[in-house]
Amino acid sequence: MSPVSRGFLGRRRPVEDPSRVPPGQYVTHDFPVLSAGPTPHTPLEEWSFTISGEVAEPVSWTWEEFLGLAAESPTVDIHCVTKWSKLDTSWKGVSVDALLGNVESEAAWLTAWSDGGYTTNLAVEDVTGGKAWVAYEYGGEPLEPEHGGPARLLVPHLYFWKSAKWVRGLTLTRDDEPGFWENYGYNNHGDPWLEQRYQGD
């Protein structure tokens, strides 16, 4: 056990509203950039979003078609497993409900996959019912590449590694198949209120 460093508190400040901040988290006002790899720069004319896997018929949108889909503008709190939370973040994007409405599927799970090879697994019920979006604007501006632009998944009720940056598609699966961090010991579900950080939490 390490002794306390006199006067050191870290970047954390007392949480003003505990009902909005899960246990062990601190509130940050900047937007930390965490990446497992280099930032991809896929040209928009080559970008597409695809729903495939356990579906009757895969479906795909170009960037222009995607921008033409009905959009929503959620304002949500986000929670990173590295312990920062950011409150009242505003986004614009297409709800996953609307996207999945275009395919017939019995699958209960899906894998979100991204440019650069990142993946993360989610239960279909965790991304439907108004709980998840594919977002392409943040704070009224196009989503910056370092934060996942042109588009990222936004699943604010789960730890933020589930909100895959640079997302390009959802693959519906019969089983719950661990994604990138889940494969290295992180939790398949990732509920910050239950502190589901690691497998077994």
Partner: protein, 249 residues
């Protein structure tokens, strides 16, 4: 899948702060007394770990600024605007405080007199820190290996170890070149602007002399300098880099 799970084997130890030296408005040197003063190699770093009252910990790596022959271990830390550890080390730490340390660590970004020179050191901002250790080591040994430091700084007021570098450059085999990128005095006769190909051509030994090249600074600086040197014909296997970022483990 090959996995190894092992508990920690390199132990943490304490360094007691003996003195704090203000190098620039944003930079301080921490002079530390360590119990078992094991020798370090010029260019190595240590990991520093801070612990809050509730057990929260933050850890960063800092290059060693002192030479292997110096009495105390010295770290030079620049306060980063949104930093978590550096503002504490620069503003809060007092003589007598204890710091948890691990190291010295690293066998790659290291200079020893036995290495075949000449040596070119390229520093961006506080990337100059490990080079002070190398220059001090060379001076302590009375080494005749030619060493050139090319140091890029925003302004004269941001230059770390300015006077000492000038003194170190009085030794025959050592040259120090300073370029200022944002502000310079009216009578500044040295280079202005970022390190580029022409400046590197002017300062570096030509590629056939196979200088051993060390580059240390922010990621973008190191990337630009190393790419330029490779384009200029320097052998990538003679270039060693140390990038630092705002965060890190």
């Amino acid at each position: 899948m090959a996995r190894a799970a092992l508990s920690g084997r390199l132990s943490w130890q304490f360094g007691r702060v003996v003195e704090l030296v203000e190098e620039t408005a944003r930079t301080k040197s921490l002079v530390l007394e360590t119990p078992a003063r094991q020798g370090h190699r010029a260019g190595q770093h240590v990991d520093v770990r801070l612990t809050a009252p509730d057990g929260y910990q933050a850890q960063r790596s800092y290059s060693i600024a002192s030479g292997p022959e110096d009495e105390h271990l010295v770290l030079t830390v620049e306060r980063l605007v949104d930093g978590e550890v550096s503002p504490y080390l620069v503003d809060e730490l007092r003589p007598g405080d204890e710091l948890e340390l691990r190291g010295p660590i690293g066998g790659y970004f290291v200079w020893e007199a036995a290495l075949v020179g000449p040596v070119l050191m390229v520093a961006g901002g506080s990337g100059v820190v490990p080079f002070r250790a190398m220059l001090r080591h060379g001076a302590a040994l009375g080494s005749d290996v030619p060493m050139r430091l090319l140091y890029s700084s925003r302004a004269l007021s941001d230059v770390i170890y300015g006077e000492e570098l000038m003194r170190l450059a009085e030794r025959e085999p050592v040259e120090v070149h300073l370029t200022l990128t944002r502000e310079w005095p009216d009578d500044w006769a040295g280079p202005r602007g970022r390190i580029d190909g022409p400046l590197l051509d002017q300062v570096a030994w030509p590629p056939p002399q196979r200088p051993l090249i060390y580059i240390c600074g922010p990621s973008g600086f190191v990337e630009a300098a190393s790419q330029t040197l490779v384009q200029r014909g320097h052998d990538p296997s003679r270039i060693r880099t140390e990038r630092f970022g705002p965060s890190g483990q």
